[in-house]
Symmetry: C2
Subunit: 518 residues, 2 copies
């Protein structure tokens, strides 16, 4: 580990987004970090006003008549009882209007601070933040195939996310480092995000005490008071669909909300198994689960930032296997985004989801079929935006590169259209006239460097050039890219005192945590 | 060749679209032909009202001050002169408002008749018609790699398009049969579309006399009077961008328009070469070229069906190579669709465009990045919807299968959301309740067969199943699919008298056409 931070690196990573960043990226071949996406394009919405009202009405019916279980958490049940909810056993039923009214204290958008202030992200509104894949126990690359993930892989994906200009967030469990004991690995994960990246990150949610560790480590970096007043972590709280919150998730939720840290309340749904097989039925359930979770966060601390989350895909009705990139979950994504906007809260969904085992055409089509709805639907926080393979079981090195390349395409698309005099280009049309070409005209020359988005993965050469270069497919080219990136990686600077304090914390905690459950 | 048409085949191809067709497809494993896409989803539009007005204003400036060349066609220049245009040499300049006013006689939508009336398509309005790739001199498949295309390949792609449920149109030059002399191949191509498919098709445009041959062959099938009163062919007329129409294209245009057949007036643009490097500049030029071509078709025969066409991508500013799947052409596609709607004419654009040499992740991402705008932008006629590889130089057997699979995904997406009581699924949520699953509930059982779209290419199995099945990628699976489809192909019935008359026409014409230019 080195704290060295060459001036060249510092310069290149400091410049802003948009045309300036693109110019820098073009001129040097080095890609310049972009700020989060500020969408300058319209939203796409599939649900009608009447359809939205129908779903909201049905959601109130579900909440009042069926209710939601808060399992094995007497405190949570007591908190609900005090709001006027009807609590019987673990089951909570909600008087009509209660849940929506509780959510009113949640911020409509908020800033998640990074330790490098230039990397802080704004979550909500017209903004979109891309974060890496979350959760896979396996990794795959072209050289080794598929194997269990290690802490070394974890660090590698943090580094690759740090280096990707259109990945704005370091994410959370970019893969499960199964070579570290389960009770201790959250410490290494949080430390790695802080040490090897300066982008914002996520905390552990697998147990309330691991959430406490995450908050404590964040306090080392940002200071106690700053953490209490600002969001420095976004944390993934899954509902146990259908209509259940379990004590692990509620426990972590309470820790984060009470510390004023953001929670993404995410129904995790494969329609046909965890929800009904229809879009409207699934959306009704998603709205019920997400809004109850967000309302509960407001009970823990009014004003605590929350994100309406939705992970929704389907199963094959023939085999029961999860499927991705199909049209029905795209309807659900667009619809859930609309429902979140009507609650005036940020929205999380989407990503580069796929069922494919390889970074092939299946993987790409399935990913694109979620990423397009992600961008056009106005998703604010995008987990799994890069690296997801095989239904989320695998973090793929090659797919990470391919996905990140596509994210930069989407970021450019989101800039929208330039109506300025330069954008109108009448001078170019006049200069060139009928039957000539625009290659050398003054307008083309003036816009040469920033005119078009450039892929780092695509091969646009002639067939003969491509063949003579080895005739490689996209995955093979991506393999060369991630290896070069990891080889050239330099860590962002980190105050030595903070680093030592973090390492002390990790060592201290590891010494009291068991290596295995006995 | 056989005219045999088993009853089983006839039955399966007769059923309608939507849920019924899906049920049929699910139950048998055989896929059922779908009617053209009738979009039940909103449009996505990137340009503002002010932006559209700006482009229309700038277009009038271009038409009045710069003008458009009609090269080497005295008749066309004379026709323009008589409308009040300013003609100097080949250059035609248009008084403001003239071109838009001429287009008013064009139909806003029209039916292209197929020889099987169930396969007729409605072009315009809320409808989208998918047609195969057009023009490649090469083919590629996993077994042989890349080689020149033959008439056998041509027939194969016609057969594959006939068999694909979400390809609604047989297209035109699905590949260039280079083993047939250039002066004669149009006859074999038109004959193949009629003989091996019953879907609508395109005529030849490479010379006016080949357009005449196409019309004559259509008259053999449909009758002289029917052809004069109805559209039975859609024909691709490319502008020679920037701002030129050449005599070949104008010659073919005149033949088709005077015979009341549809012309797609398509600027063929790679921004940076054939247009300015900006979206608004490119759209201004596209509007100028497309609207002048459509107006000229109305001069040939008022009321002749026309389609506002746009083929637009970009070049790499570093190498000059064409690029596909980049964000700037997506802006252009969405914008051109809006401009076409304001002219109240059908719109052609999009397709599964890519620069990749293989049906890999690059090919899929690039294709998806055009197909999503194609569907959401409201394109009415989609050439190149399947099979396009390597910048249009190659018709790929495997990519044809992969693309067609995606088209059926988009067709399902376009059906939109079901708000019925069954769609709301409250009964399912009640039946299942918190913490259970929906797999066996009554609602899931009732919707089992039609609930979710099914890919025929994707592998959703577990890693272990997939590995034990050979660990194949999407292209390898597609290879097996097209081989099986061609093996099982059975030709649709064709009246023997018509077939003989067509064959007579082809033989007669071939006997008088030269084998090569001497």
């Amino acid at each position: 580990m080195t704290d060295a931070f060459p001036a060249s690196e510092r310069r290149s990573r400091r410049s802003g987004g948009g045309a300036e960043a693109r110019r820098a990226a073009r001129s040097g071949g080095q890609q310049t970090q972009l700020t989060y996406v500020k969408r300058n394009i319209p939203l796409y919405e599939v649900l009608s006003e009447e359809g939205l009202e129908l779903i909201e009405r049905n959601c109130e019916t579900v909440l009042a008549e069926i209710g939601i279980d808060f399992r094995d958490d007497a405190e949570a049940l007591d908190m609900w009882r005090k709001t006027g909810a009807d609590v019987k056993g673990n089951r909570v039923r909600f008087p009509k209007g209660l849940v929506r009214s509780l959510i009113k204290t949640a911020p409509s958008e908020f800033t998640q601070h990074a330790r490098n202030p230039e990397r802080s992200v704004r979550i909500g509104g017209k903004n979109t933040v891309f974060a890496p894949v979350y959760g896979p126990p396996f990794v795959r690359n072209n050289d080794e195939g598929r194997r269990y993930a290690t802490i070394e892989d974890f660090r590698n994906f943090v580094k690759l996310a740090y280096l990707a200009p259109s990945i704005h967030h370091s994410g959370g469990t970019v893969c499960e480092p199964v070579d570290v004991p389960v009770h201790k690995r959250h410490l290494d994960m949080v430390y790695s995000h802080i040490r090897y990246s300066d982008k914002p990150f996520m905390g552990s949610v697998t147990a309330p005490e691991r959430a406490e560790d995450s908050v404590n480590m964040a306090k080392v970096v940002f200071g106690d008071d700053f953490v209490d007043k600002n969001c420095v972590m976004v944390n993934l709280i899954n509902a146990n669909s259908p209509l259940v919150f379990d004590s692990t998730m509620v426990g972590a939720l309470k820790v984060y909300a009470r510390n004023n840290q953001a929670t993404v309340i995410s129904p995790f749904i494969l329609s046909g198994a965890m929800s009904a097989v229809t879009a409207v039925g699934t959306l009704t359930q998603i709205l019920a689960e997400a809004s109850v979770g967000m309302a509960f966060a407001q009970l823990c601390r009014p004003g605590a930032p929350v994100i309406f989350g939705t992970f929704a895909s389907s199963i094959s009705m023939q085999s029961g296997a999860p499927t991705f990139g199909t049209p029905e979950p795209a309807h659900v994504l667009f619809g859930a985004a609309q429902l979140a906007r009507r609650l005036n809260v940020p929205f999380r969904s989407g990503g580069a989801l796929c069922a494919s085992k390889l970074p092939d055409a299946q993987a790409a089509h399935e990913s694109a079929n979620t990423l397009w709805p992600t961008l056009l639907g106005g998703v604010n926080f995008v987990l799994h935006a890069a690296g997801w393979l095989e239904g989320g079981l695998v973090s793929s090195y090659e797919k990470f590169i391919i996905d990140a390349d596509q994210l930069s395409m989407f970021q450019r698309f989101a800039e929208g259209v330039d109506y300025s005099e330069n954008g109108q280009a009448l001078s170019a049309i006049r200069e060139v006239g009928p039957g000539s070409h625009f290659l050398g005209c003054a307008h083309t020359q003036a816009n040469f460097e920033t005119a078009f988005w450039r892929s780092i993965v695509a091969d646009n050469n002639s067939f003969e050039q491509w063949r003579d270069d080895g005739g490689r497919d996209a995955a093979a080219r991506a393999n060369a890219i991630w290896k070069r990136q990891l080889k050239d990686y330099e860590a962002p600077p980190l105050d030595q005192g903070i680093d030592e304090a973090l390492q002390d914390y990790v060592i201290r905690r590891k010494s009291v945590l068991p290596d295995s459950i006995t």
